[in-house]
Subunit: 436 residues, 2 copies
């Protein structure tokens, strides 16, 4: 008997709920949604190699995580509850100095596993040894935009290296020729990259027609330092360097002022909100969703890395985004459940440019099924509300990306080995750091 | 073969982690932890009716939810994202007017199911038709302190009814003679209960030697109204009415000032933090944990009801408490993972007075086992960190209360029927309200 996990098959998913209708979904052998409606079961029954009984599950577009550092799963729980600078300089950076390419592979494999399990089918990554990350993404079956974290520390020699690494990654990803994997340019932030480096990144991304992934206005200190150094706020500096484009995803953005929101809107920048990380590291201001939204900015959602979250569950992130925006901006009507869910689906899809982030006939089948026969979906007065406020990623039972089944009724082939290899790699990493 | 779920049995739980040691736990047939250590397996093997292979799980004391309205599970997702007063007056109260005793029973059964599934073994409830709630708790196997929500709306006649209902509940619970169920007095809040009503509640609770459960300083409006009406802040008013005692649990407490924190500390009041509800309803100020902590107040944790959360997962609540305190008070070192976990275990245990909230020989076995062979516990650099920041309630695989196994490897007997009955009750409730 053929294994449903082995490759793409034509699939009939019967009896699922989408937009409050009970429908069937037919996916053809190319991984495209070929039919979606109330009678697809009768139309396509003979054509489907496999039938998945949805059993009343909610069908959603696969969630999109627009800011993370996937391999940092290996650092989950290694250090928490510290002042940001101490945490980085005493704990995170010393450990990262010992990371090998194989660690990046193992950590990214674990991250992909965790994302598949919690319903995420595409992510935006920034880290290093990205060829190893690409190998993990390729094997996992999900989608990713991969960027090398460009950090020149205002040093010309180091800048040369970073340009080279960025060029190499773009060439490597192009050579992979895997439609699920794209390269982006990853200038880390204004406080780690020189204006020359930022300009080079903008130019290279433009030439290559690839995305830009950057941290922006995460802390008040970053804004104040930028003003004293450059006489302008961070978004102004990025704009001078031509880095604000419709291909740019700016993460965090907690400390934007109104004019910056307008500027980002005018430039078509996508903003990735990371509420858990911002709260954990005490940025003390929430990304100004009401202002960004009014400025027409496409706001999407990211978990950040596992060292500052410490998981990759976008359902949890959606809930906390909806809660934080209400609490900080003092209005319980901000970011209602329907809109909150869009941050992680349509808006994320728009930002990464992998399809639409919607369930539509003729588009690649990135679909997750959420179990409705569990306490968090009982009762089911309002599916959007339950998905945002009551469920977590554990409610996802089946995950399909590009038409390939990656998890079926909570089963992911090879899961134990991925966890065990990552656990071993993390252990050995800490030992190497300790003994150095 | 005897059913492990049927009644209390002597149990040997082998190979679990507690306080970074790998141990076995022996529970005798009275439900008491009789042995706990590295060699209990050899000592007690012959005596155990059942052996549960912990398989490296983390053993924790059962979590304690110190503020909820359990039966409101039926309202999960019924109305969200509204201004507090509109939400209550247009949505929640009109629906609650149609709740029957059977609804309360079904809703509380669903709540208990959800709590067992996510590792909670005791809760502090305030609602109405509490005899029906007691029946659900009795059958579920977990512990609860039940209070009737005393609301006299400053009306003498209504006050008579509320006193009667409170006396009836106390008598009913005494007659049940179930050590897992206690009664408390539940004056709802200073804005719904007259000073005469508050004083009566204090007196009755003192006579009966039972607890007091009240909402306090949830919103800025409550504080401002209290000052204009009574010339003092809410805690001062409660103190005048003798309601601040070591048997009192005050929920929310977002808008306490420093002097109130000191007063609550001096009176031995327990404060139940409800971060999810506070964020969702936009209280705009976080409970002042640093000040309460400095004043020696026992701070514990509650989910609030499912209409304002919308689940009963205390693992999620612990994480959001740790995040919110850091973010609001602008310091990432506040409420580190070890302390955050204590809010939901030891501190909750202290507040409800059901045992110690610790795993100790000679105490009732309220134990939950958290799976370590899952992504959120990989790697396992620090168990407390993973439990707080990476896991949710879905990581709990086994729940034991008073020595009785309530969930074993995610299986809870009778679960489907409980969900189906609750879903039906919720549906009929909404229909009754619509047609009235």
């Amino acid at each position: 008997m053929t294994d449903i996990f082995e490759k793409k098959h034509s699939l009939l998913i019967s009896n699922v709920m989408a937009d409050e209708r009970c429908i069937d979904i037919f996916i053809d052998e190319t991984g495209t949604i070929a039919g979606m409606g109330e009678k697809e079961r009768t139309t396509y029954k003979g054509e489907a190699e496999f039938i998945i009984d949805g059993d009343g599950a909610i069908a959603l577009p696969g969630l999109v995580n627009t800011h993370t550092h996937a391999a940092m799963t290996l650092l989950r729980g290694y250090a928490d509850d510290m002042i940001l600078q101490d945490w980085l300089s005493q704990k995170i950076w010393p450990l990262e100095a010992h990371l090998t390419g194989d660690d990046i592979y193992q950590g990214t494999r674990l991250a992909c596993l965790e994302m598949i399990r919690s319903g995420t089918t595409a992510f935006n990554d920034m880290y290093f040894c990205m060829a190893d990350a690409a190998r993990a993404v390729d094997e996992s079956g999900i989608r990713a935009v991969l960027s090398y974290g460009f950090i020149d520390l205002f040093n010309a020699e180091k800048r040369e290296n970073e340009c080279k690494a960025t060029e190499n990654l773009a060439a490597h990803i192009r050579a992979l020729n895997n439609p699920r994997i794209k390269a982006a340019v990853g200038p880390h932030a204004i406080y780690t990259v020189s204006p020359e480096g930022l300009r080079w990144c903008a130019e290279f991304a433009g030439e290559q027609k690839i995305g830009i992934h950057i941290h922006l206005a995460e802390t008040e200190g970053e804004v104040n330092d930028c003003i004293s150094r450059h006489g302008k706020r961070p978004s102004g500096l990025l704009d001078d360097c031509a880095l604000l484009t419709p291909r740019t995803i700016a993460a965090h953005c907690c400390w934007l002022d109104d004019a910056e929101c307008t500027l980002l809107g005018n430039r078509g920048v996508h903003v990735s909100h990371n509420p858990v990380s911002n709260m954990k590291l005490a940025t003390h201001r929430a990304m100004p969703y009401p202002y960004l939204s009014a400025a027409g900015v496409n706001v999407c959602l990211g978990t950040d890395g596992c060292a500052s979250n410490n998981n990759l569950d976008l359902f949890e992130e959606v809930k906390i985004a909806a809660l934080l925006q209400k609490f900080y901006w003092n209005n319980p009507t901000i970011l209602p459940s329907h809109d909150a869910l869009l941050l992680a689906t349509e808006n994320g899809g728009k930002a990464l440019g992998f399809g639409t982030g919607k369930l539509l006939v003729g588009t690649p089948a990135d679909i997750v099924l959420v179990n409705t026969h569990i306490a968090c979906n009982t009762p089911l007065h309002n599916a959007d509300s339950n998905l945002v406020y009551a469920c977590n990623g554990g409610a996802v039972e089946t995950t399909i990306c590009d038409g390939k089944v990656l998890m079926l009724e909570h089963e992911i082939p090879g899961e134990a080995a991925i966890r065990e290899c990552a656990a071993r790699a993390a252990c050995e990493l800490v030992n190497r750091a300790r003994n150095s």
